[in-house]
């Protein structure tokens, strides 16, 4: 009898808990909306990448703002924590299962070719405020379309890379922020005080090393084209090899800490902010953490453009395409577009870019004094507007471009540890880029 009671109790518990747990969740099809009527209630799903608490507050505010402006639209906002790799893994699984969101903010060329993104040319061309969006960024985003015409992401900002330098350290050795590479290497040497565990430079040898090294070597050589007329990669040109020799072989472990071999950005930032390194290379996205770490004391640090190349002019990496993309399977594209338009409005764009340390795509927002007057954002504005600064044609459009960079990271560590020559590294790199480029071109012909 007792046993029967136990079995009945167990069964009831299982059924009740099943009902409870499934009831707790609304199993949503992320991009599902049953309506196409613009006045009907609509829910738009938006997954934002690499969201921290501070960023989540912005997105929560934006979701409320959307509802205020469009009372029939509810923005179901998910701030995905973690890095871009985590975000991509989550999104890829959702795409395969058909539960991907309506809006994403990590623009990837492979998702253009696999049809996940919606071509937004029609929406954009019919938008009254399209003239406010930075034309260069529209052009840059269109490079992800193999035909070069489709707009698969609405650009909301641009991000420039720069050096972060300890101005107080440079002052102590009577040097100014280096504006050419000989000065750069001299400063690195002079700032190093190994006995006190202080180094002139921190080199990124861990995750993301290839990206940084690539833009620095081109900044040194002054070469602005990645491929010559015959499709040969320029990455292994003599000046790039010379730079890698100076940077990874001669400087690493002599004027840098040995553990730079495995440093990613978080470790690099720690080295800089805790007084272990005098110069690091990153983008303006890290500005907020710099200001916080140095408690707003701008006498200690500053952002600076890259030193002038051996050709005499400054070269920066081409602006990476980024923007909001629309899911091509979205059931309520008009509502999605309204949310995107609002995201690009002056108010939202300004707020977003102040938080993220990026330069607004909305040209009205870019006029905000924050961007021209801020000690660090003004550097980004200078990089983008100074006619003497050149950008190279970084092939972000190659679907395997970031994979090649990831593949090269182990080779970079081999060079740092003396197991590979710079020439060999760059020859391998050139071969990989050429193969990817040929593959891309042959796909275009089909």
């Amino acid at each position: 009898m007792k046993l029967k009671k136990f079995s009945a109790l167990l069964l009831t518990t299982v059924i009740t808990s099943t009902a409870l747990f499934t009831g707790c969740g609304n199993t949503k099809n992320a991009s599902s909306n049953e309506t196409q009527n613009p006045n009907d209630p609509a829910t738009v799903t938006f997954w934002a990448a690499s969201v921290t608490q501070e960023r989540q507050e912005f997105f929560d505010w934006f979701a409320k703002y959307v509802h205020e402006v469009y009372p029939n639209i509810t923005l179901d906002m998910l701030g995905v924590p973690g890095n871009l790799t985590d975000y991509r893994q989550k999104l890829d699984v959702a795409i395969q299962a058909g539960t991907a969101p309506d809006i994403t903010n990590d623009f990837r060329p492979e998702l253009v070719t696999n049809g996940y993104y919606q071509n937004m040319n029609d929406y954009f061309n019919n938008w009254a405020d399209k003239g406010l969006i930075n034309e260069q960024l529209i052009k840059s985003n269109k490079t992800y379309d193999p035909n070069g015409t489709g707009l698969y992401a609405l650009p909301y900002s641009s991000q420039t890379w720069n050096m972060w330098v300890r101005t107080d350290w440079l002052n102590s050795i009577n040097m100014k922020v280096p504006t050419n590479w000989p000065d750069f290497f001299t400063a690195v040497q002079k700032l190093t005080d190994k006995k006190n565990d202080k180094y002139g430079l921190a080199i990124r040898g861990g995750g993301g090393s290839a990206n940084t090294l690539e833009m620095l070597m081109y900044a040194y050589s002054g070469v602005t084209n990645y491929f010559d007329a015959n499709g040969k990669s320029t990455i292994n040109n003599a000046k790039n090899v010379e730079f890698v020799q100076k940077y990874l072989v001669d400087t690493y472990n002599t004027y840098t800490s040995q553990d730079d071999l495995t440093k990613g950005w978080a470790e690099l930032a720690n080295a800089f902010q805790s007084g272990k390194a005098g110069i690091v290379v990153h983008n303006l996205g890290s500005a907020k953490s710099m200001v916080t770490a140095f408690q707003g004391d701008y006498s200690k640090f500053q952002a600076a453009v890259f030193p002038a190349s051996v050709q005499g002019y400054v070269v920066h990496a081409g602006l990476m395409p980024l923007g909001l993309s629309m899911n091509s399977q979205s059931k309520n594209k008009d509502a999605v577009w309204k949310v995107m338009q609002l995201y690009l409005s002056k108010e939202v764009n300004t707020k977003y870019c102040q938080l993220y340390g990026e330069i607004p795509a909305n040209t009205e927002a870019a006029k905000d004094s924050f961007f021209s007057d801020s000690p660090y954002m003004s550097v980004g504005v200078k990089i983008e507007t100074d006619k003497s600064i050149k950008f190279n044609d970084t092939p972000y459009y190659l679907p395997t471009y970031s994979n090649i960079q990831s593949d090269m990271e182990a080779n970079i560590q081999s060079v740092m540890s003396g197991k590979m020559t710079p020439q060999k590294l760059l020859d391998n790199w050139a071969a990989a880029l050429e193969e990817a480029n040929n593959e891309y071109r042959s796909q275009l012909k089909k």
Partner: protein, 280 residues
Amino acid sequence: MNYKTKKQIAKISFVYIPLLIIVIIVLIPFLWALSTSFKTLPEFTSETIQYLPKKLNFDNYIFVWTKSGFAKYFVNSIVVSFSSVIIISLLCICNAYALSRYSFKGKNALIIMLLGTQMMPVILYIVPMFSVFKNLSLIDTPLALIIFNVLLQTPFNTLLMRSFVNAIPKEVDEAAMVDGAGKLTILIKIIMPLLKPGFVAVTAFGFIGCWNEFLVAFTFIQTQKKFTIPVGLKSMIGEYSVNYPALAAGSVIALIPPVILFAFIQKYLIAGLSSGSVKG
């Protein structure tokens, strides 16, 4: 130096000192995290290393608990982990009893299959299970995590529990049968009370596995308020910066339930693990 003194010196040199070193190695990261959790960000990034915070500052705990949503994540983790562990334990007892007491065709193959599931990385299951769960309308529900946890944890824990059931002599079952007890009665009234150490071991392993599970929770949950603690901890790691003091505070909070659990079950766990290891 007499024999007794020599023996004591040898014991100190070869047992206590190595053990002390191991304890220090194990404790240092924990103590470091604890110390960091009470530091302010400027203290943490200070040019001179500070081993201890200047004062006990609870701001990081308040930040993660209130602003970062850890209060919600904590409850979610508790619900998912405890529910999973209850199901895992029940299933493991039944599975282990069957594998220990019954002979049936394909038993060895089943045991190898259970072992085989442990060799495959979880990421391999993610996409097919996501599609299955989507069709069952389970995506973005705690039940999805519970089912997945049960699927992941049951095979290993079944094999662990089997060794405990094997350690109970079959004569105990037979004596009960002579007294008229059925199989279910034997399992519930005779075997289960004797399996206390095994139950504790399975609970401990199962709970830790469920509590720390990240990949499935990160992939299957699509609403922030349903995140679990390991996913929530990720929000301390930004794209360009890491809030280490807050991350440390979050980690310390995440440690509390396992520490409490282990404090309660420690004596059973040690007895359970040793008995399971020698009788199989």
